[in-house]
């Protein structure tokens, strides 16, 4: 019986900005363990010296001239804001 993966699900949830009920924490931990066990297939292959591939059709150094160009109007940018005060998005206090 393979050893269960050590998943600190509460810590991972905090990193992911998710809250979990106790039931969810247990369920996700067990499901993740199952998936990670399957993913361990990758450890059976010798990958030393293999270059990682980030993109299958890579393009490099994609830059544009540093010139201003049109974007959203302020109204467009604010159009989906859940809470708005004048021309700003309102959020809870950031700094105590």
């Amino acid at each position: 019986m393979p050893e269960a993966h050590k998943i600190d699900i509460r810590h991972v949830a905090k990193l992911a900005r998710l809250t979990l009920t106790d039931e969810e924490a247990k369920r996700y931990e067990s499901q993740l363990d199952g998936i990670l066990t399957y993913i361990d297939t990758l450890t059976r292959y010798d990958l030393d010296g293999v270059e990682p591939t980030a993109h299958a059709m890579p393009v490099y150094d994609v830059l544009r001239a540093d010139e201003p160009r049109p974007g959203f109007t302020q109204e467009q940018a604010l159009s989906n804001a859940p809470k708005r005060i004048a021309d700003q998005i309102q959020i809870p206090k950031v700094i105590e």
């Binding site: 900005r17 993913i39 990758l42």
Partner: protein
């Protein structure tokens, strides 16, 4: 009935003055009103807006007056963009057109209707949608596949002329296979991802879901092309993908990967695909066995890379600028965690947690870098194989459509169904699925899809083979 027609046929009718764009939109709307309660392909559709566009349509353009339904993860100005999720279903209206939509519009097409999907494109059955159930038009007790299930169900059920889908691990091809229509994922970088809500940025591509191979080629001609807004967009010429349709395939080499003959392929799927292979041979193609030795790594590699990329891409859903914001949050941290936890469904949470774990300190090398190396090996397998053959053939899905709810508590079983489609995304190659027969399951004829994969940027050959087979049936 216009809704059951194709882009090619409708364009002939429009140019001949026999039908108007308004006629087409009205007929599609009628079809949706009659059939959507049962099939559930659409989440929303705005007939008035589409009619206004139809009346303004420039019918001299190649797609002039043709309504195209859109998977609900591509921004179209003024339309919803729910991604099948509660986190975007309340109060998000797209303030811009995605790059692919801009190109469709430039070709004269009308984006009409928002199609159901697995939440944030995570899933292979559309059962992960938080907003509704989509059923397979061929058997309403079964899934349409996913994540572009709404797209395939609409096209196969004649609730749309054609649709756009998106494909990260098979999400265009697999639902096309399960519903019995055509779907193609282009080479990575061919179609702009600007305005497509990102799931896994190194894998996502937009593509057409259509009734015929010709219609897919017609749409691809317009969807493809450089977009400065997408830094992964390829700045290369777009050929006319319809130009080589109808050319024969004598002497064309078709590769069958020996690693794909696995237990778990439904006997009826095997039989249909074998029959298609014999058909292609009779058309003059040469069939060769090839090897893709690292096939076994595909699903595992994908389920490291995709959730990892998704965990980063979905970090933007924090209740600040758009989407669901929790009404019970105290401080900022609570606003983030509650908004996200209230808004995301279980499969999305599962993948975010998985991806976050695998990218976190101490695990990054063991998982993410390792998977990127495996990706190199998978990609190299295809490069080697394409020295010997022109296209690679397989079933799209090992099984026909399963019943709604059948794989509910077994996420891993669902992941393993993507074994033939996933490697194509990992290698960035073009791949099509088209119908190759049906299998009788409990008295219903369930569609089987044939997958044809080509060399990078060689959509023309993929389409030519697909078209030759389609026309010979």
């Amino acid at each position: 009935m216009l809704a059951s027609s194709t882009i090619a046929a409708l364009r002939k009718g429009i140019t001949a003055g026999e039908i108007t764009p308004r006629d087409i939109v009205l007929d599609v709307a009628k079809s949706i009103e009659a059939g959507n309660a049962e099939i559930g392909a659409y989440l929303s559709w705005d007939v008035e807006a589409a009619l206004a566009e139809a009346d303004r349509a420039d019918i001299t353009k190649p797609l002039g007056g043709i309504p195209i339904a859109v998977k609900d993860n591509m921004n179209v100005t003024g339309q919803p963009c729910t991604c099948g999720s509660r986190i975007l279903s309340e109060n998000y209206t797209a303030p811009y057109d995605a790059g692919a939509i801009q190109k469709l519009r430039a070709g004269g097409a009308i984006p009409f209707g928002r199609l159901n999907m697995d939440e944030f494109a995570m899933g292979s059955s559309t059962e992960n949608s938080a907003l509704g159930v989509t059923r397979n038009p061929r058997d309403l007790s079964r899934v349409p596949g996913g994540s572009s299930g709404g797209s395939a169900a609409a096209v196969a059920g004649d609730l749309a002329i054609a649709a756009l889908g998106s494909d990260t691990g098979g999400s265009i091809r697999q639902p096309a296979a399960l519903c019995g229509c055509v779907g193609i994922k282009p080479t990575y970088g061919r179609v702009s991802r600007y305005g497509l809500v990102a799931f896994a940025s190194s894998l996502d591509q937009i593509g057409p879901v259509t009734k015929t191979v010709e219609d897919s080629a017609l749409l691809l001609n317009h969807l493809c092309g450089y977009d400065a807004h997408d830094s992964t967009s390829l700045n290369i010429e777009v050929p006319d993908f319809t130009a080589t349709l109808g050319q024969d395939i004598k002497g064309l080499r078709i590769g069958l990967p020996k690693e794909y003959y696995i237990d778990g392929i439904h006997a009826g799927v095997s039989a249909s695909v074998q029959s298609a292979i014999r058909q292609l041979e009779s058309l003059g193609a040469i069939i060769e066995e090839i090897s893709l030795p690292h096939t076994e790594l595909g699903v595992a590699t994908y389920y490291v890379l995709a959730p990892a990329e998704a965990s980063a891409n979905l970090a933007r859903f924090d209740g600040v600028r758009y989407g669901h914001r929790s009404s019970s949050a105290g401080d900022l941290m609570e606003q983030y965690t509650k908004s996200r936890s209230e808004g995301f469904g279980p499969e999305v949470k599962r993948r975010i947690l998985l991806g976050t774990y695998m990218l976190s300190s101490g695990y990054y090398d063991a998982y993410y870098i390792r998977a990127q190396k495996a990706r190199t090996l998978i990609r190299n397998d295809f490069t080697e194989a394409f020295k010997k053959v022109d296209v690679i053939l397989s079933p799209t899905s090992p099984t026909p459509a399963h019943k709604l709810g059948e794989l509910k508590d077994n996420p891993l079983a669902a992941y393993l169904e993507d074994v033939f489609t996933i490697p194509v995304n990992l290698a960035g190659l073009p791949g099509i699925s088209l119908p190759c027969g049906t299998v009788d399951v409990e008295g219903k004829a369930l569609p089987v899809g044939l997958q044809i994969v080509g060399k990078a940027l060689d959509e023309a050959t993929v389409l030519r083979v697909a078209h030759a087979y389609e026309q010979s049936r």
